[in-house]
């Protein structure tokens, strides 16, 4: 296996890994809309109407990103969108930490207020940083094995 091919495999792992992240997190949010609302509200950033909209749309957008990454369509674009969304999460968790709120990020279901000693902001941010690395790889080098992008006749900007 040559070097380029190996890098394609690494890329595929990043793509499928990130796809799994979005599919799992999206699914856990979709099945419990009330909990998702509570989780979004706990960040205490948006007015109630904004919380409604974000809580309603976010799970479906996560699922869409997951499906697209799984298929490997427009990998670079989807990875860039993933990075934007992850940065928004990092900002949300970061502001909660900085303001001294005690919440669970609700990243994979759950969410809402927790006891002051039970926050895990550092772990949540490190986890997001890991996901950002995967997205970053795919933005820089979107070529992966087993991607639909090959069949659609492009490996350039998707």
């Amino acid at each position: 296996m040559n070097r380029a091919r190996s890098l394609d495999v690494v890329g595929a792992l990043a793509r499928l890994g990130l796809a799994a992240v979005w599919l799992v997190s999206g699914l856990l949010k979709v099945v419990d809309p009330d909990q998702t609302y509570i989780a979004v509200r706990a960040y205490d950033v948006l007015p109630d109407a904004g919380v409604e909209v974000v809580a309603a749309l976010l799970p479906w957008v996560e699922l869409a990103l997951g499906v697209l990454l799984l298929a490997g369509v427009g990998t670079r674009l989807v990875a860039a969108l993933s990075a934007v969304l992850l940065l928004a999460f990092v900002a949300g968790v970061g502001q909660a930490w900085a303001r001294g709120l005690s919440i669970d990020c609700g990243c994979f279901g759950g969410g809402g207020a927790v006891e002051p000693g039970e926050t895990t902001y550092l772990q949540e941010l490190l986890r997001d940083a890991g996901f950002l690395l995967m997205a970053g790889w795919l933005v820089v080098r979107p070529r992966t094995v087993l991607a639909l992008d090959d069949r659609l006749g492009t490996r350039r900007m998707g």
Binding site: R5, P33, D34, Y37, I38, R41, A42, D44, E52, V53, A56, L57, L58, P59, W60, V61, L63, A64, L65, V67, L68, V73, G74, T75, L77, V78, L81, L101, S102, G112, A113, L148, D149, L152, G153, T154, R156, M157, G158
Partner: protein, 247 residues
Amino acid sequence: MGGASRAEKRRKQEEADRRLAAAGIRVPQKRNRTPMIVVAVVIVVAVVVGGALLLARSLTATVEPTYTATSDGAIITAGTGPVVIDVYEDYICPACERFETRYGNEVTTALNEGKISVRFHTIAILDEQSNPAGYSTRAGNAALCSVPAGIFPRYHKKLFDEQPAEGGAGLSNEELIALGTELGAQGDFAACVQGNTHQDAVAKETETARKDTALQNEKGQFGTPTVAIGGKKVDLNNTSWLQNALG
């Protein structure tokens, strides 16, 4: 097609493109747009699905309450129907706000039609979630004050519509009074709210509920919202819990 021959083909194609470009001929790059279009379509579909579900939920009009309520200690009994439902709520609890938003209309309709009566237990387990502490008790007290003031059904809903965020100061007594005045509170509602008249009753009811093993979850904890029928905790994950109770 192997990787090598594919790369070879692409190289030839690119070379041809370059020659055409040099000759001033634009090569349409149509096929390269396909992935972008697919991405756009999938994301739009996702947003439309989520938006449609949100719209369907938010388009339902509020059912106006016509039932009456009485109170005893920190328990408010609404309606007079034969099926008795015990509801345990804390006014700062976000899950209670969701419960009211999701099931409020259904419960109000059943109360209006005289099918059920609801015993609202005023609980304050989240006093520490406001800063300064104590919003749960103050709001619960105001809800109890709203019963003799003749505005309970609407005031109860109002307290959840205007529910403050956890971690904040909560609504001040003045704000709690203003909400009641808006709804036409009668008698000494303001004094009742300011005096935290029912504080001890709320504390006592909270303790009673906490100790009631029938209301606890698998971990042996009591939380809000909790709904019980005939002394048995109802599984609120089952969205047709009320229909089931009505039989």
